[in-house]
């Protein structure tokens, strides 16, 4: 057609013939858009904080190991093998990779902690007390006492472990670990503080000691570490950053395994993927409900206009041109609804983003997939949520128009003109 704008104008005018009906339909679609965007925002908010919390408490978002370290986590599988690596050179290189906000070396060992009357099995994590806070929140989770100091025989233990041992900050514990040279390392440590992360596994079994004294106890040289934990600006970038980091580190001539959290926190990653899939289900349900309402009102509108379709046909309009008027009207309805939806959704999203809704009065912390969820409704901004919802809304109004369009085409002109 030479000018299709007239057909859009006709669709627009037809749309407003029954203002009330159009207003109701458009509001329903706009509300569906809001629900869709908001719920995706909330779900993304939950996922984001699960990933943040799940990786920030202790693991970090990328880990670098000796390729043989996982899954056995052998004491001997240190980065660079028996000779170890120049740890500071490693940290420097890692720090140069874009998106990295912190990196810290770690040494792990398993053993016993004893307070005299009580003995418990413990996982020990040797950390650099100065670098570790840039990667994980474990030292910041110390609620009683303080973090262990570099070079001091001090240990921070989990709250549940402290309860079992019946000790608090200032107590003395005997620490026993099998060392790398086959001997049994044991020494007396002072409890510098007690941490509480909210994760039962950590609070009951984890003990944190300064890396230097721990290496000494394990008979490991200072250049032999098990892991470098890395924190990123954005957890979602972990896979890309890991790939880049692998390239950067390969230039150091040491074979290493660089793994993002999606690998070493597989269960968390699967949970998150599932939650993203749930987003599409939300969108689908919201608009599946809307489509019937929209189709129904459009069907009503087309039924009322049977005679006009017959006139168009009598004047030489093709079945296609009749279908077009209905479909165009559906599309115009979709665009109007989308604008209305955006106008109500944007301010609510901005407000809730700035003022997360606190549910801590109603519920405790929620634990899932080895992460702690804060009892807060907070929405994450994303391009994805509004984009998916917009496309879904426009498709909804388009599809809702198809059946009415089909019905309009099927109107027999002679009968409709006779009012039959």
């Amino acid at each position: 057609m030479t000018d299709s704008s007239i057909w859009w104008r006709i669709a627009w005018r037809n749309l407003w013939r029954n203002r009330r009906r159009t207003a109701i339909t458009a509001s329903a679609l706009a509300f569906g858009f809001f629900v869709s965007v908001f719920m995706i925002g909330v779900a993304d908010g939950i996922v984001d904080s699960m990933v943040e919390d799940g990786t920030r408490i202790v693991t970090g978002q990328i880990q670098v190991h000796d390729p043989g370290y996982r899954p056995e986590r052998s004491l001997h599988s240190t980065l660079g093998g028996r000779d170890g690596v120049d740890v500071s050179a490693f940290l420097d290189r890692i720090g140069e990779v874009g998106g990295v906000t912190g990196a810290a070396p770690r040494v792990y060992g398993g053993g016993l902690l004893s307070s005299g009357e009580e003995t418990v099995a413990a996982g020990f994590m040797g950390v650099d007390p100065l670098l570790e806070p840039g990667v994980s929140g474990i030292l910041a989770a110390v609620t009683e006492g303080r973090a262990p100091r570099p070079g001091a025989r001090e240990v921070a233990i989990g709250s549940e472990m402290a309860r079992k041992l019946g000790v608090g900050a200032g107590a003395e514990l005997v620490l026993v670990v099998p060392a790398a040279d086959g001997s049994m390392g044991n020494d007396l440590y002072t409890v510098s503080g007690v941490f509480r992360t909210g994760l039962p596994g950590l609070d009951a079994f984890q003990a944190v000691v300064p890396i230097d004294v721990f290496q000494d106890l394990l008979a490991l040289e200072p250049n032999r570490i098990h892991e470098i934990g890395i924190d990123l600006r954005s957890a979602s970038a972990a896979r890309d950053v890991a790939t880049e980091m692998e390239v950067v580190l390969s230039s150091l001539g040491v074979e290493v395994a660089v793994e993002p959290w999606t690998v070493f926190r597989r269960e968390l990653y699967e949970y998150v993927s599932m939650a993203s899939a749930a987003n599409s289900i939300i969108v689908f349900i919201v608009f599946a409900m809307a489509i019937f309402g929209v189709a129904n009102t459009m069907l009503m509108a087309t039924y009322e206009r049977r005679r006009e379709f017959a006139v168009v046909r009598a004047l030489g309009g093709t079945p296609g041109s009749v279908a077009r008027t209905v479909v165009f009207e559906g599309i115009v309805l979709g665009v109007v609804s989308l604008i209305a939806g955006a106008l109500i959704t944007a301010p609510v999203m901005m407000w809730v983003h700035a003022h997360p809704i606190d549910l801590s009065g109603f519920t405790d912390e929620i634990r899932a997939a080895g992460s702690v969820m804060r009892p807060l409704i907070q929405v994450a901004y994303s391009v994805k949520g509004p984009l998916i919802s917009s496309v879904a809304l426009l498709l909804t109004s388009l599809f809702a128009a198809l059946y009415p369009a089909f019905r309009a085409v099927r109107v027999p002109p002679a009968d409709a003109l006779a009012g039959r």
Partner: protein, 239 residues
């Protein structure tokens, strides 16, 4: 100017209906030449609307054949019939049937729009026609703001704007008072006389029949009489 614009041969339309099928049109054969001004008269239920719908391809005959110009339309598909109507046939209805969301001008130019005629030409042609039939100044009014007589004139404009071979008008004056109806008929006559538009209109109003140059009487779906009326130098045609 002896060019046949429409010809039918033994046209039948039977509506299957309980208890007994309705024979709305029974063996109508007629021929109309370019430039004629023909009335089809007959009481309500005599088959006038059905004949017009058959000629316009809105209803398919049960039996018989129809030619519009050279083309036999009985075998055409819906799409082809639409194309034929767009190019060759204008419709005027008893109930005006303007599209309510369109202005008078947009209604009148509608078939040009469907044909893809550029806006400038569409508007020029509508304005010329509106001036001829006394609608100038009403271009931007919606049908709701027009009187019945004005609406029907817009409908006539819509029917003739594309210069169709034939205009079919189904009781065009039935919804108008006598004076307005007479004025409308005058407009149709002028278009017939000055622009050579061929009209076939149905009516059961004797005053309207009088004005036709040829009068076909339909009774129970059959042509009872078909006579030329010697008025205003009309193109007579006798059978």
């Amino acid at each position: 100017m002896n060019r046949t614009v429409v010809r039918t041969e033994d046209l039948w339309k039977v509506y299957p209906q309980e208890p007994k099928p309705v024979e709305a049109v029974r063996g109508v054969s007629l021929e109309i030449q370019a430039g004629e001004f023909v009335a089809m008269a007959g009481p309500s239920g005599s088959g006038k609307t059905t004949v017009l719908n058959l000629l316009g391809g809105l209803t398919r005959p049960t039996r018989g054949r129809i030619w519009i110009g050279e083309d036999e339309i009985t075998a055409l598909s819906d799409r082809e019939l639409a194309r034929l109507r767009l190019e060759s046939i204008g419709f005027v209805f008893q109930a005006f049937n303007l599209l309510p969301v369109l202005t008078a001008l947009e209604n009148a130019e509608f078939t040009l729009l469907l044909r893809g005629v550029p806006a400038e030409e569409r508007h020029r042609r509508v304005r010329e026609l509106f001036a001829l039939i006394g609608l100038d100044g009403l271009e931007d009014r919606k049908p709701g703001k027009l009187s019945g007589g004005q609406q029907q004139r817009v409908a006539v404009a819509r029917a003739v704007i594309g210069e169709p071979a034939l205009v079919l008008a189904d009781e065009p004056t039935a919804n108008l008072d006598t004076a307005t109806g007479a004025a409308l008929l005058e407009v149709m006559e002028r278009l017939n006389h000055e622009n050579g538009v061929t009209f076939l209109f149905s009516t059961h109003d004797p005053r309207v029949m009088e004005r036709a140059h040829r009068l076909i009487h339909l009774v129970d779906g059959s042509v009872e009489s078909d006579v030329a009326q010697g008025v205003r130098g009309g193109v007579g045609h006798d059978r």
